[in-house]
């Protein structure tokens, strides 16, 4: 059953652990959507996006979407929803100087907020640490509105940093002169990246990804490297290895089962790649947590 907590400022936290469910929603608030195990599949327009524990999804106010958990095993999800007034106030606070804030303390900005790309962002670092603290507080019996709000403030602060790094800085790396072209190219690259994340365990081809992104293979390959500093194939391998790491740490699946789940054919090549990437074999990595 979905549990919702509405704070005094009308920001909300929603969480549930559920299997086999489908929702159709119109997002009334800007929201951050995350899962802590399994996956949740979202449909926004004609895009299908799967959210795994290593990523979170942003959905803007007014977007219509469906979300679905298809697995029999229960999936733990959490969403944080921010009202437009809170988001506006936060945005002004972190984008204005102290002088501006003191000169016009009650100014209500007329300009609109940046429309955050509705894409997958890496769920790690401070964003992950603070979200886990928020989840623990939410699931406890403690009903502390002020502390909850503190967590929500920090989650938004963390998101702004992720947004700066993943969207602003990466889009600036594209060698495109015209601003509109850069924005559109980056949007298509992000669609491709979301497609790869959502289908990381399937046998997807470069041609398939390029068709999804509406880019020629050469153009896509070159632009992807400029933006993400690796080839699409390397990116896919990183995704698979990161997912395997999460499963080794948080599940009891045997290594050969994990290999199959993440879409590898061969156990030995998986072990070799894992060791090359993380400097430790999958078995030893897991034993490090069991000790």
């Amino acid at each position: 059953m979905r549990k919702t907590q509405v704070l005094q400022n009308q920001n909300k936290v929603q969480s549930e652990t559920i299997s086999k469910v489908k929702y159709v929603n119109e997002c009334q608030e800007f929201s951050v959507r995350m899962v802590f195990n399994g996956d949740e599949r979202y449909t926004i327009g004609n895009r299908n996006i799967s959210v795994y524990p290593g990523n979170f999804l942003i959905i803007n106010e007014g977007t219509t979407f469906t979300s679905e958990i298809a697995s029999d095993a229960p999936v733990n999800t959490m969403s944080v929803l921010y009202t437009a007034s809170f988001l506006n106030s936060f945005h002004r606070t972190i984008t204005s100087t102290d002088n501006e804030l003191m000169d016009e303390p009650f100014h209500v900005p007329t300009e609109t907020l940046p429309l955050f790309p509705e894409t997958l962002y890496p769920f790690k670092g401070d964003m992950l640490f603070n979200s886990v603290h928020l989840k623990n507080l939410f699931n406890s019996d403690v009903n502390d509105d002020v502390l909850m709000n503190e967590y929500l403030y920090h989650c938004l602060l963390n998101f702004y940093r992720v947004y700066q790094k993943e969207i602003i800085q990466k889009s600036e790396q594209l060698n495109v002169l015209k601003s509109n072209t850069r924005v559109e190219l980056f949007r298509r690259l992000n669609n491709a990246k979301d497609y790869m994340i959502s289908n990381y365990n399937k046998d997807i081809s470069l041609n398939e990804i390029c068709r999804y992104a509406c880019l020629s293979e050469t153009h896509f390959f070159r632009s992807f490297r400029q933006t993400f500093h690796c080839t699409p194939h390397q990116y896919l391998m990183q995704l698979r290895l990161s997912q395997s790491k999460h499963m080794l740490k948080n599940t009891n699946y045997e290594v050969k089962e994990i290999v199959s789940i993440i879409g590898f054919d061969c156990v030995s090549s998986f072990i070799r790649l894992f060791k090359n990437r993380f400097g430790v074999t999958p078995g030893n990595y897991r034993m490090g947590f069991a000790a």
């Binding site: 790690k124 670092g125 401070d126 640490f129 603070n130 603290h133 507080l137 502390d144 002020v146 502390l147 503190e150 967590y151 920090h154 790491k245």
Partner: protein, 125 residues
């Protein structure tokens, strides 16, 4: 089995007051005799947190001057502890800020001792 206890030393203005502050607001317990802890006569006071992984010897400053360095207190949740201290009316020196090691906040007791609350975070994953 080794019976050595590892602790860090913090030079403080008034050891007994510093330990009392840690007892009251951060759930530390004293490991010295009650007499030593309460006397405030300049002896050090050994305190430890409830997890048994953070021990501090609050020792009097040899110069008799107030120490400018903050006492490091490790926590598993900086925002929660900061919030509790704020609610208790403790003087905040700086609000939680992000560093390369995690999250830290600084506060002070009534005797000028500073405490840095540190939540270490592993960003390697």
């Amino acid at each position: 089995m080794s019976s050595i206890l590892k602790y860090s030393t913090a030079c403080v203005n008034k050891p007994a007051e510093a330990s009392r502050f840690l007892n009251l607001h951060l759930n530390f317990v004293n490991y010295n005799s009650d007499k030593t802890a309460q006397s405030g006569n300049g002896d050090g006071v050994l305190v430890g947190n409830k997890y048994g992984n953070n021990y501090l010897l609050c020792s009097p400053s040899s110069t008799g001057k107030k120490s400018e360095e903050a006492i490091i207190i490790n926590t598993d949740n900086c925002l929660r502890d900061f919030h509790q201290l704020k609610n208790a009316g403790i003087q905040i020196v700086h609000v939680p800020k992000y560093t390369t090691d995690g999250l830290e906040a600084v506060f002070a007791d009534n005797y000028g001792n500073k405490y840095m609350l540190v939540e270490k975070r592993d960003y390697s994953d």
